[in-house]
Symmetry: C2
């Protein structure tokens, strides 16, 4: 049989067509298919309207080898995925006794009787393979139609995600072609997207010239330009080797701007460095309002290195909690490098930590001046190596300025702790 | 001519078919169309493949009155939306001299010469109306084909969003039916989704029995169950009146659990209450790691009421910065109501604020016990009315427990400041 090459995803549910909701299930499905070298050609969102759903299935089946539907497998009259697929394939829907038994047992285990309505979930198009759902009532369905395959998945992510993994491994893998895809990421910060692209360009050119099967997608995340790398190969060993080599090659061109060759966030990278060195940290935050410390403490086990922090919004608090002289604030202004340095030194001394951070700036929308516009942030990192301070101007609104400032502060700590330092 | 009733959105770009990116442009387009009473029937994401794109346009035109495409209007060979639409309509692409002039002027204003490649952006299907793009190089296109309409929008959100607003107002409004849609939201917290639905059920029943044209979509946001209400009406005045009435009716059944009848987040609701009363606030955070204060300071102008906060991860910091007696921690444990109360009282006294908050808990994944499992959080609010403290157990992982705890703390402040109190 011809190997599976192309796929389409159809997400079902009228709520996914409102101005407040997105289909996110397709991301996990795409990742599972791409790993098998199966390319996603289209994704479609359809409401709970039988004719729209049937039209989408028919249209996709005409174009691709594999159609994955998610959602619309619930017990109510709105759940029409089973019916629409049966329509298109011209197969009758038949009740599966084993599914009814499993549903009854599932309800019984919670001392409930199965509502009659749930019998709908046991209706399957003739010839479909049942895929068990340990996390919910709706089983998945796997249907072969000539050379083509149709997969039906339940909508809730915690039911769908393990199921697509299992189906990819057990049923799609043997039908996929010889090529597999291996995915990784290089994360950078402190570069604009166009500057980062410019640095990466010679590498792309080299890969193209050598006909290497490597693809890169750039994703501009908040305060992070990420390069998602995909490598095609015929077996796991050479694929993983090629992936590691291409990530390293790409990372090299970004130098110190690359902070991770994996999916870790900056707070995890810094946390790992602190833990490795047995260092502790404390922060004095003004414009970031606690966001820096919140990010540091998003990391499990961060209580090993986060001792304390203070948010000093008022000048009085800067003096009372950090010993920043009122005269210094008077002379240079609250947003200034001398004040940031005094904050970093003050918190380090009072907390007795290896590292102290001081952040002071103007998050906006008000408070900017010609000399210090909105987005101006002074960041100081005080440590055994002395105190380093730098002023930057970040773009965007209040929340964006806050996030950029925390990213820059974490990055300053990372650079201070880099391989040759700290 | 028959009024516009149904629409489809097609988002164009291979990057939108990767496991890391979602089409989000469709949300703004959906909101603009829904406001005109135009229902979205499907949305589709298509890669930069001419045949897939043509197939999607052809299929959508056969089903709906209005097809909105976004993306694929750039200057490169990958940008195929113009070509695909011209194909389907059987119209030639012709260079529009006015667009070329505008592009040249745009580049000239930045002292650049227009690259020859950008001429592609001046190619339009014969008969298309040009829609100016003040924020970028690609103009939008508006095409009538018999009773049907096709709109082409550039992909960057800051170019697309004002353009769809303008097209909706100037061109689609006159073609829409008499019915308009008016949208609002009631936000609740402290209720499970099923409990909230149960409370809302009698209201839905009443609306259905009275044949009122009101629709509700429930959205479970983090620590907030939101009821998005849409009302259909023939004119603005009766539509807005009906919307306000239905929001009030829905809000009433949730009682104190409803915290907003608009899109404001909890931190904005609390900020508005503090500002109205001229109150100030300070927080002592342990397990939330600064996230509470970060949320409070996400609100522009929050420096009027946020004085300071401390993040006291270590017991030593709790004693040094808040005066929590070591013996109290010893006797009850760091995660306990007496310690939360002492933290709230300690920060209130030291900061000299109207309100003090103390939060201590176990965010996980480690540190839980049989008596105090992961997710256990004690929250105290100290104010002129005395100190109120309460222990809750939140579900989920570390970041979710942190967020739930900040939402509950803000909600406790909101309730303390409610209309009859504070």
């Amino acid at each position: 049989m011809r190997p599976l090459d192309s796929a389409a995803i159809i997400a079902v549910g009228s709520e996914l067509l409102t101005p407040t909701r997105l289909d996110t299930n397709s991301l996990a499905i795409t990742a599972a298919l791409n790993a098998l070298g199966i390319a996603l050609r289209t994704k479609t969102v359809v409401g709970d309207i039988r004719e729209d759903l049937s039209a989408a299935v028919r249209e996709a089946l005409a174009r691709v080898d594999l159609v994955v539907l998610c959602g619309g497998l619930g017990p109510t009259d709105d759940d029409l995925t089973r019916e629409a697929v049966a329509d298109v394939l011209g197969r009758p829907l038949e009740e599966d006794a084993a599914i009814v038994d499993r549903l009854r047992a599932r309800f019984a285990s919670r001392r409930l009787e199965m509502p009659e309505i749930n019998r709908r979930q046991a209706m399957v198009p003739r010839g479909a393979h049942i895929v068990a759902n340990p996390n919910g009532t709706a089983p998945g369905l796997y249907i072969e139609e000539g050379d083509k395959i149709i997969v039906l998945l339940p909508g809730p992510p915690r039911e769908l995600q393990p199921m697509i993994q299992g189906i990819a491994r057990d049923r799609l893998e043997p039908r996929a072609g010889a090529t597999r895809m291996f995915a990784g990421v290089v994360r950078t910060t402190g570069l604009s997207e166009s500057h980062a692209e410019q640095l990466a360009h010679p590498v792309y050119k080299r890969w193209r010239a050598a006909h290497l099967p490597i693809e890169v997608t750039t994703l501009a995340a908040p305060a992070s330009i990420d390069f998602h790398v995909t490598v095609r190969a015929g077996d796991r060993e050479s694929g993983e080797r090629a992936l590691v080599a291409s990530l390293e090659e790409l990372r090299a061109v970004f130098g110190d701007h690359a902070y991770a060759s994996d999916a870790r966030g900056m707070e995890h990278v810094v946390g790992d460095l602190l833990r490795e060195r047995g260092y502790t940290i404390a922060a004095a935050e003004s414009c970031t309002g606690g966001l820096l410390t919140s990010r540091l403490t998003d990391v499990p086990g961060s209580s090993a290195y986060v001792e304390r922090s203070v948010v000093v919004y008022s000048n009085a608090a800067k003096t009372a909690l950090l010993g920043v002289p009122a005269a210094l604030i008077e002379e240079y202004g609250a947003v200034s490098e001398p004040v940031a340095s005094a904050m970093a030194g003050g918190i380090r001394e009072r907390a007795g930590t290896t590292i102290g951070i001081g952040i002071t700036g103007i998050a906006g929308p008000d408070g900017g001046t010609a000399e210090k516009p909105v987005g101006t942030v002074a960041i100081a990192v005080d440590g055994p190596w002395g105190c380093r301070v730098r002023t930057r101007v970040f773009p965007g609104g209040r929340e964006q300025v806050k996030f950029f400032a925390t990213q820059a502060a974490l990055d300053d700590v990372r650079r201070a702790l880099g391989p040759d330092r700290g």
